[in-house]
Amino acid sequence: MSMAEALLGDRKSRLPRLDGIVQWLLPAAILLVWQVVCSRGYVPARVLPAPTDVVLAGWKSLQSGELVYNIWVSFWRAVVGFLIGGGIGFAFGLANGLSPFSDKLTDTTLQMIRNVPHLALIPLVILWFGIEESAKLFLVALGVFFPVYLNTLHGIRTVDPQLIEMGRIYGMNSGELFRRVIFPGALPSIFVGVRFALGIMWLTLIVAETIAASSGLGYMAMQAREFMLIDVVVLSILIYALLGKAADSVSRFLERITLSWHPAFQKH
């Protein structure tokens, strides 16, 4: 191994670890400034509690079991709502991308509904479902539906027609054509939809839980506000941020393993 190779090899092996650290530098710096500002008393504790106080509140809540319960409830609502809404959106995207008749039949209607902000339906949803689980699931599913639907449809429509013609020439039947050409071709776009949907999923859930719920992270934050427990309010917000990041990481991971052929996801 030459000197240059040795150096390059070394750099390659060191880079990923550095990359992993770099993305957390800014959050750490913000945390540090926050702590200093609070403990020096520049900001009164009833406006913004210090990170240490938030951690303490988290610890207390963790010990009482309340925190784990509320996170679990919110997580369950997010996942189930996402699966229902995403599944239906994916199914409609497939149907309308593959069948012109289905597209003619449903697309106009769906585009009309899409332009209604789904959070505007909260009053109606409370009237229909009360503050039961189904109200939250309905809102999350509705919010998640559109990004998944639109991007699945777009992905299928933009599959290279030359590849489809190639598949036909080489004797693929409709099933094979879908499995080997259309679906893999639409996958990058479907993932874009999924990542959009994950953002909307948390947003919807927070709003729904703060307005109408008797458990969950949003409910926890609202309860804390009632009793002026600002550290718990901040704690809930931070947990939302972490959960959002976790959801994004999961979808990135899925993209990396399923789209390794794609130039945008190649490993360096």
Binding site: G167, Y170, G171, W261
Partner: protein, 284 residues
Amino acid sequence: MQLSLRVFPPDVDFVPPAKLIEQARKARRAADPKLEPRPGGLALTIRDLRKSFGENHVLRGIDLHIPAGQFVAIVGRSGCGKSTLLRLIAGLEPATAGSISFGENVRAEDVRVMFQEPRLLPWATVAANVEVGLGRQRVRHDAKVRAEQALTEVGLHDKRAQWPRILSGGQKQRVALARALVSRPRVLALDEPLGALDALTRISMQRLLERVWSDQAFTAILVTHDVSEAVALADRVLVIEQGWIAHDVEINIARPRRRGSADLAALEGSILQELLKEDRSADA
């Protein structure tokens, strides 16, 4: 003693491991002679073939017989209908009138097309892309072996596990050629397959095409706008003008043909002159 000096064009990305290819051929013949019949080419008869797109009459009555195993090149100006003729022969589009018959029953795998674009699946490895070419034979147990043999034949065996995106343009076209050949077609329709390649890669691809054609004896129909390519490769050059076959030229020059030789150049010149006649009459 006579010394013959053969000057090869520089091989840009085409380095066929000649020994490997020979071994693969032997192995294929030895493996199972029944499984790999050498069917040879199919003869092709076209009668009064017409194709219109609305008011636009692209083909106005083509009559043509191509004997089995012939290498036919079709040249013409852009928009003359040469690509349409090829797409009709390959069964990609229905004819408006007239008939194309192959003399005997053909399976779907007997006629293969190669396009100007490689049309490889970006999400499938090179070997999986070649396996696509087996069509309905893909389920057979030897699919993988055959795909690898076809890749060896085009000199890309070592790239079998790669994604297509890392290949050069010429390599992608060679994968497309392997995919077209893996089902042992009896007719190979080529729609300007080398049109997008640089000059040196084109020359090495032409030699590859000529080699597999003489090895497998299929009927080759090559649409090209490059007259020198047509006369270098084909037994016969058809000149199409405004939906008709204007000229049908036999190329009786022994193979291997030497590029740039006087007789090839003379033929090329006369065909080009025919193609450019329109311009001159317009100028006058």
